[in-house]
Amino acid sequence: MTSLVLTVSETLRYRGAIGQWSWVLHRLSGLGVVLFITLHIIDTSWALLYPELYVEAIATYQTPLFTIGEFLLVGAVVYHALNGFRIILIDFRPKWWKYQERAAWMVLAGAAIILIPVFIGMFGHVLNFYSGDSQVLPLMDVLRAQIPFVVGIVVAIVAGVLFSFLQGLIAGGGEKKSDKAGSAVERFWWSYMRISGLLIIPLVFGHLAMMHVIQGVFDITAANFTVVGTDAVNVSGTAVEFVAARWNMFLGGVAIWRLYDFGLLALVVIHGFNGLRYVLTDYTAKNPTLRRGMVYVSLIGALVLIIVGTLALIGTIDSTAIEMAQRAAESLHQ
């Protein structure tokens, strides 16, 4: 913790140029997105696994707290994507380092240019929803719904550190002098972050456009609405039917949205949790047990999300699930 406190306070005091602030924003936006995808993947899996819970989760998304969060999320994704592109370009062409400051400003300008129309589009959905006679859950209910996630995150951290501690007891402490295996691993991750980053950019922009701009989280529960990217109509007006329409959409025999979502799931989760590992291990260097624990925390997070996400993507949402969701939606707003 001391090294995190020191780095944060001294980063604020050190008069670094824009490169330093780009790095700060890159870390913060990355951490924010990792936190969100943790919630998002788990509760989207409920569309298949626990339809009633999914209805509640979407209802919590349709509240002011998450609306503010949604704007921050989209801002974070757009900034992280553009700045990541800047990092990748100069990593592979170090001679372009002279342009990094200009590129950092261009990233900010580019993010603003993209975000202004996007935010206007998103704001249209927000205005439409809150000015109508929509039911909005009280803040306390929204916060209460997040308790399981907080517990889950704490459990993952405790489990990771405990596992690392036990490993230290069994394998013995002490640090390796030379780390050949570690070198190969880090080389792989350095490439993975860059290649996956490039692949994620078009996928995530497409996802944001469909789910946050063209149709927002508020349209998910609109009845008799054609679901984006499909020719199906969400007759029941439940979030579960919305997801079912997308995942059951076939084009040339291929469930394109399942494939799309699986690509996003695998690339983003591994990218995000490896980034989390970078951040966590940077600030736990003084304590080898804690540092190794942070690697396990990142690993646990990534594995849980990929398993849960894959389970949801290979299943089929049937009409019973939609009926359950309908009943849940009715009881939610009574």
């Binding site: 170090p94 380092w97 070198s183």
Partner: protein, 250 residues
Amino acid sequence: MDVTFKIRRYNPEIPGKDKPYWQEYVLKDVEPTNRVLEMLHRVKWEQDGTLSFRRSCSSGICGSDAMRINGRNRLACKLLIRDVGAKIQVEPILGLPVIKDLIVDMEPFFDHYRSVMPFYVNNDPLPADGRERLQTADDRAIFDDTTNCILCACCTTSCPSFWANGKYVGPAAIIQAHRFIFDTRDQAAKERIDILAEPDGVWRCRTVYNCTPACPRGISVTRAIGEVKLAIMRGSPKGIINPKDIPTHE
């Protein structure tokens, strides 16, 4: 002009001064062309003999007077008063243990330096004339920039990755490794690449770019680190730097 110095003081041997604290000194008749180091001398010689800092050559060559001046790492001997203004804040560089006032323990820094084999390795017999191993101007140009390093630690102690994690080898050691990795006459590039490929080697560089403007020798530090990363990825330094891209090289 009058100049106010606000200096970070610390003396572990004197009760009451064994926690870092700020102390102010006002100097009169300062010329804008005076150097910061000369003014620190005046503080020490005219006002407070207990003020401690390192300096040796006082001319930007030995690299012993790196300090954080007005929030940025610089060499006090290369910085003029007119470039920092009448209010000057001086503190030790960050990430290395402070011994007293502006003096830090450089040993961890030099340990990282030593870890990258910062010396020329060539075990071939000498050329027939028994004199030099010749090299083309182009081959010399690709590592010219990194030969300028004076090991002042301005870059390494400007790096947030190093502040957080003292095990990170740091920009200066990578610069020193770059100087030999890209020297075509040297034969230990592979060993250095292996050392820097370790988890606390080059990968802890997050391209924050604080190191590049901190370098008092104008080395493009982050570029050089990027080139070492590419050499590690490809397993060899060959073909990574095009001599035509070196600005000073005709």
